[in-house]
């Protein structure tokens, strides 16, 4: 399958990671994004407190961590949707602190949202077209002369069609985005972000709610992105997926980066297991195993209840 064709870049990425330390904040050979001391507090709660983090260019990096660890908030800081209390970060060497969200996107760093933001009353196709950059027709005066943007529009449409096909949304092409199902919205959101043609794409739980079979084919697509030279940073709770495509995994907990490393190493890291994966993450379980586990849990619960009583 796809896996074979992706070897070159993957190999490169893996090689880059090969002899790095497995510790939080480790320096990467060719970082596209460098983050220093980013802090965001909500009242008494420190949602994000990342001391140092680098993202390797051309790699697929997974960001995992328990719920409420601050992953989404971290994304918000980096992409200019929320202002950080402290810290600085540079994308391709360019300082981005205080830069408004749309500029961040234009520099080539595009994110998707965990809670999808489909543009309901635009059709799926229009949603896609919107993603394209440097559109001539988006200038007020040129918009008045259709001839000036028609050609470009056709090219954009073509690119959009391809992506839609990939994301199995081609049948919904002319429907309002508002009428898509939850999973379809996720897909649209991701496809739309790719229309921007970013250097670094930041996906916030792209596969939550997406059908497994489709997830699988999308993974291939994400790997292709790497082949095209794109860097991917994604948040995900689906360990199968993380294991399958990521070259490097960053773990956050309570706002801070607690571990970094290749997927296999990370998943056996005891701290990560405790904080995040839980004892039984290694799917699949047989029915018997499950029964066992259930009884265990039940016993635990009962014990606790007794304790209380």
């Amino acid at each position: 399958m796809h896996a074979d064709s992706t070897t070159t870049r993957k190999a490169a990425a893996l090689a880059a990671f090969a002899d790095l330390d497995r510790e939080p904040g480790v320096a990467k050979p060719d970082p596209i994004l460098v983050v220093d001391n980013v802090v965001r507090r909500f009242g008494g709660l420190t949602a994000v407190d990342v001391a140092h983090l680098e993202i390797q260019r051309g790699s697929i990096t997974a960001l995992i961590g328990p719920n409420g660890a601050g992953k989404t908030t971290f994304f918000n800081q980096l992409t200019g949707f929320d202002s950080a209390d402290e810290g600085s970060w540079a994308f391709n060497g360019k300082q981005l602190k205080g830069v408004p969200a749309h500029r961040v996107a234009r520099t080539g760093m595009v994110r998707t949202f965990q809670l999808t933001k489909a543009l309901s009353k635009l059709t799926v196709m229009e949603n896609m077209r919107l993603g394209a950059q440097n559109q001539r027709g988006e200038n007020f005066f040129r918009a008045l002369v259709p001839g000036s943007w028609r050609r470009q529009e056709d090219e954009i449409t073509e690119r959009a069609e391809e992506l839609l096909e990939r994301f199995k949304l081609n049948t919904k092409r002319d429907d309002f985005a508002g009428s898509l199902s939850g999973g379809q919205r996720k897909l649209l959101e991701m496809a739309r972000a790719l229309m921007v043609g970013p250097e670094l794409v930041m996906l916030d739980e792209p596969m939550a709610g997406v059908n497994p079979a489709l997830t699988q084919s999308l993974l291939a697509h994400v790997k292709d992105l790497r082949e095209e030279g794109m860097t991917v940073l994604f948040v995900e709770h689906d360990m199968d997926m993380v294991r399958d495509i990521s070259d490097w995994v960053v773990v956050m907990a309570q706002g801070a980066v607690i571990a970094e490393g290749p997927p296999d190493t990370i998943m056996s890291d005891q701290r990560v297991v405790d904080a995040y994966l839980g004892a039984h993450h290694d799917a699949p379980m047989s029915a018997e195993e499950f029964e066992e586990q259930l009884q265990e849990a039940e016993a635990e619960l009962e014990a606790e209840i007794e304790e209380k009583a």
Partner: protein, 387 residues
């Protein structure tokens, strides 16, 4: 003032006549024709201990018109208190007294606005409807009370009670037979907003039809003489009204925060489908809110009528301030309406210290815009989370 000499000279410098004031201080000079004349009071003839109030005006240019008598007045004061504008002697107030009075008036007006705003905010909060017909709910309440008070002849207190109940029923009915139906048909909020503009128009002119264009006061407590409390003079009815308003506002605010139905109302506001899934009877909650909203609006109308007058445009005229209050406080917050409205009330009144009173609304509205500049979510509002 007796024996003061006055001389009148025509425009061209020809003296016309002189006169000496009589025992009552009056004098009279017949002039030949219309035109300009100079009238001079000879200050040296003034009795001792008396001086001109406006010293530099012992000579006046007077225009006399055809066929009419022209009065000229030389204001006199006991010598010693000479010159300048009138000092704050009997009953005049100092600047700070006025500020105190204005602050009081600010709360007075602010609380009425707050009461109206609470009703609006309740309905907006639960249904998302920007109800431009809310002003007419106020007018409705005020007119009901007017009917019972003036036409039927019940004392205002009872008339108000009855009207609050009727206002509640009116609110209930509106939802039951109108807004509720529209909601079920799936009308969009914008469409409903425009429908509310139509409804406002309709109701306002129904009121005009039956009530007429003139304002009218209630039969009780009208032009109640003020009492002096410190620097503030206020009618007793103001204090009672403010007390009632504050009480109702706090009760409703707390009810919204603490009671089960209040929380349910906020839940419906957030997400009606989910509220239904939680076992909340959404229609019932909305109906209760409309009932309470209608009753509060009615009360607000009565209070407004009490402090102003009942007229068919009363609600409409105050609506903008009500909206400003709700917005300033933060849409959909329980006490935002209260805080925002009081700020609006205070600024309307206090801004008159610096701007002409005809522009007092401008003062309050500017504050609204400025606050929005720094707190786009309103004073008590919270920012939405992104992502």
């Amino acid at each position: 003032m007796n024996g003061v000499k006055i001389s009148v000279v025509a425009e061209d410098g020809k003296p016309v006549d002189d006169a000496t004031s009589g025992a009552d201080g009056k004098w009279e000079v017949p002039v030949p024709k219309a035109g300009k004349y100079k009238v001079t009071l000879d200050t040296s003839t003034l009795p001792a201990g008396v001086a001109l109030k406006f010293q530099n005006r012992s000579t006046l240019d007077v225009q006399v018109y055809d066929g009419s008598v022209r009065n000229v007045l030389f204001a006199l004061v006991p010598a010693g208190a000479k010159g300048g504008a009138a000092p704050a002697d009997d009953g005049g107030t100092s600047f700070w007294d006025r500020v105190a009075q204005l602050t009081f008036e600010g709360f007075n007006l602010g609380l009425i606005i707050a009461l109206a705003a609470m009703g609006l905010s309740l309905v907006f909060g639960t249904t998302g409807l920007t109800n431009f017909a809310h002003g007419e709910l106020l007018t409705f309440g005020a007119m009901c009370a007017y009917f019972f008070n003036v036409v039927v002849g019940v004392h205002l207190v009872w008339a108000a009670l009855i009207s609050v109940v009727i206002g509640g029923i009116f609110g209930y009915g509106q939802d039951r037979f109108f807004w509720g139906r529209l909601r079920r048909r799936g009308s969009s909020l914008v469409a409903m907003m425009i429908i509310s503009i139509g409804l406002a128009l309709f109701l306002r002119y129904v009121f005009l039809f039956f009530f007429g264009g003139e304002g009218a006061p209630y039969a009780d407590y009208n032009a109640q003489p003020g009492i002096q409390v410190g620097p503030i003079s206020a009618a007793p009815k103001n204090f009672v009204a403010m007390g009632i308003e504050l009480l109702v506002l706090v009760i409703v605010g707390l009810a919204l925060l603490k009671t089960r139905i209040g929380k349910a109302a906020r839940a419906v506001a957030d997400n009606p489908a989910l509220a239904a899934s939680s076992g909340i009877n959404v229609d019932r909650v909305i109906r209760i809110i409309w009932t309470v909203g209608g009753a509060i609006a009615s009360l607000a109308g009565i209070m407004l009528g009490l402090s102003q007058n009942v007229s068919y445009q009363m609600g409409f005229q105050i609506l903008l301030l009500v909206f400003a209050g709700v917005t300033l406080g933060g849409l959909g917050t329980a006490f935002g309406a209260l805080v925002g409205s009081i700020v609006v009330g205070l600024f309307i009144q206090l801004s008159t210290v610096v701007v002409p009173t005809e522009l007092k609304t401008v003062g309050a509205l500017l504050v609204l815009i400025l606050v929005m500049l720094f707190r786009p979510q309103g004073i008590l509002g919270r920012r939405e989370r992104i992502g």
